[in-house]
């Protein structure tokens, strides 16, 4: 840790202001200047829709086309965010739900896949961690399956389950499975033998041994695996929604791109970030409950 002084929040705020100002000025476009252009050129531009004639006979940039020319500035994005947040709970049609619904869909899709994967991975991991021979037998398969991008499973999953809703959940499942599985097996396997010795002397039943000793003992390692799985699943859920056209924040980003609404794309990116922060803080609270110090 450095010995720096000062309020980090102040510095964060300063950095934000600098970033927004830089963004604003780099994306700023001057007012339309007709000087140096012939009447024919102006008519051509008006015909193309780049400029429009105002009531007093001058020309200005076409505000409709402005949206897709270049990268929108922070003000345009804020305006978009304002309208989107204003309609957060509005359902305009089957594919046009408010942002609050989209966040809810993504979070629940993520939660379903992640929780299912965690349960399966921890159960299998404990089994493999307790049985060295079994672990050595299964490990080559894990090593082959682990590096496969979860999205690579998607066509096969879509073909087999024939339902994009469950395919998206299963993509999250595949993304979250391997890290937890591998670290749980490792954590259970490297649990201090002393704890198991105490359990053996006390003649604890298999179930008690699992819940009183093995799982709490391996919990810190398991949580580390879950954390890696969590990140990997969060990365997978957005493209899964894009590719499958399932309503959610990933879908929002893609639909705004189809609408050529770049402000909307940037807003969607920010929403993805916020959703990540919300899920992550929830996870950290959970992790704090089960970890202990040696």
């Amino acid at each position: 840790m450095g010995g720096g002084k000062g309020n980090p929040w102040l510095i964060s705020g300063f950095l934000l202001v600098v970033f927004l100002l830089a963004w604003h000025f780099f994306t700023l476009r001057g007012a339309f200047d007709p000087r140096g252009l012939t009447e024919e050129q102006l008519q051509m531009m008006e015909f193309n829709g780049d400029i429009v004639r105002t009531a007093d006979g001058g020309y200005v940039w076409n505000p409709e086309k402005e949206k897709v020319k270049g990268v929108p500035g922070p003000l345009a994005v804020m305006e978009k965010a304002w309208t989107e947040l204003g309609e957060a709970f509005v359902k305009k049609g089957t594919n046009d739900h408010g942002i609050a619904y989209l966040v809810l869909y993504t979070v629940s899709r993520f939660a379903a896949g992640f929780l299912a994967a965690s349960v399966v991975a921890i159960m299998l991991g404990v089994l493999l961690g307790l049985n060295k021979v079994l672990f050595q037998a299964v490990n080559p398969f894990i090593q082959i399956l682990k590096p496969i991008s979860p999205l690579a499973w998607m066509p096969l999953l879509l073909y087999t389950v024939k339902d994009p809703k469950w395919t998206a959940v299963l993509v999250v499942f595949m993304a979250a499975l391997w890290p937890t599985l591998a670290t749980t097996a490792f954590g259970v396997n490297s649990l201090r033998k002393d704890y198991l010795h105490v359990a053996a002397i006390l003649q604890l039943s298999w179930v008690k041994r699992l819940y009183k000793v093995i799982l709490p003992g391996a919990a810190p390692t398991i949580v580390n695996g879950l954390r890696i799985s969590f990140g990997s699943a969060l990365v997978a859920v957005v493209p899964a929604e894009m590719l499958l056209g399932e309503l959610g924040v990933g879908y929002l980003s893609w639909i705004e791109w189809n609408n050529l609404d770049i402000s909307g794309v940037i807003f969607a990116i920010l929403v993805v970030g916020v959703v990540g922060v919300i899920l992550d803080s929830g996870f950290n609270k959970l992790a704090g409950l089960v970890t202990y110090q040696e």
Partner: protein
């Protein structure tokens, strides 16, 4: 028949080179009476902790058998509780929960209140009242081992196995806990088998001290009776005329066997393997004085 009989027990490990086996200790026979406190002293690596783990059922023996109150011992059980050198408290449980885990296991028929009262009794006995809700991380080494002792005594095992219980505790605290252990043992009179390499600790606590030669192929070479009457305290014990005789005898033994050193390649086995251990008693026989 003795209460606890370790009968011609040998232990072999596969050697590091893969071919053949290394004998850790050979043909160890110990007879311990009910209520007796017996300690084994030896250099590191002589296999004394392995021997203790075999009695506890945590490791298997290669040859021989162990009989506890007329029944052969097979695997770990609640009748032989270990106090570990590394404390082995569950770090995710509080002091109270750690002891309760043992009490619940030992007395599955008891109701909640009875279990809690029993746990509290042993918490108080080791002077940890007020620390029940602390986790082991928050405790000093001495306090951790007090919990370990409370856990072991609380299930009232037939045999207590102490595996260098005070090796990781600072010297000043060690003395205090040793006296606490004497007091606890005086009230319960458990049968105790301890391994240590602290000579003073062994004399203070034990009825008999077994001296183990260095491995490989270690064996019990001598059995020293601690001819100092109980109750003992650290202060009074050093005044007793036998104290330094016993102490010197043991230290001479340890130094003599350290010189041999553990020969790396196994070396020729000790010629006196089959000899019965030498009995040393300063009350009976003053001629063993060296």
């Amino acid at each position: 028949m003795a209460f606890l009989e370790i009968d011609h027990v040998s232990k072999y490990f596969p050697s590091h080179t893969g071919d053949g086996q290394v004998c850790i200790f050979n043909d160890v026979t110990i007879k311990i009476d009910k209520g007796e406190f017996v300690t084994t002293i030896g250099h590191s690596g002589c296999g004394k902790t392995t021997l203790l783990n075999i009695i506890a059922g945590l490791e298997t023996m290669s040859e021989g058998g162990i009989i506890l109150s007329g029944k052969e011992v097979c695997g770990p059980g609640l009748d032989r509780m270990v106090v570990f050198q590394t404390f082995s408290l569950m770090p995710w449980m509080t002091v109270f929960q750690n002891i309760r885990l043992a009490v619940k296991a030992a007395y599955p028929d008891w109701d909640r209140e009875k279990i809690a009262a029993h746990v509290q009794k042993y918490v108080d006995l080791v002077g940890l009242r007020g620390s029940e809700t602390k986790r082991p991380t928050a405790l000093s080494g001495g306090m951790k081992q007090r919990v370990g002792l409370a856990r072991a005594f609380s299930i009232e095992p037939k045999v207590l196995l102490l595996d260098e219980p005070f090796a990781q505790i600072d010297a000043l605290t060690r003395g205090v806990i040793q006296e606490e252990l004497i007091q606890m043992w005086n009230t319960t009179r458990n049968t105790v088998f301890m391994v240590t390499h602290d000579v003073d600790e062994a004399i203070l606590l034990s009825d008999r001290i077994l001296l183990m030669t260095n491995g490989p192929s270690a064996r019990i070479a001598e059995i020293v009776d601690v001819t100092i009457p109980r109750p003992r305290s650290r202060e009074s014990i050093i005044e007793h005329p036998h104290y330094y005789k016993i102490r010197n005898h043991i230290i001479h033994f340890l130094v003599r066997h350290a010189k041999h050193g553990p020969s790396g390649d196994g070396g020729p086995p000790d010629q006196s393997v089959s000899e019965a251990p030498l009995q040393v008693n300063f009350e009976r026989d003053l001629s063993v004085l060296r």
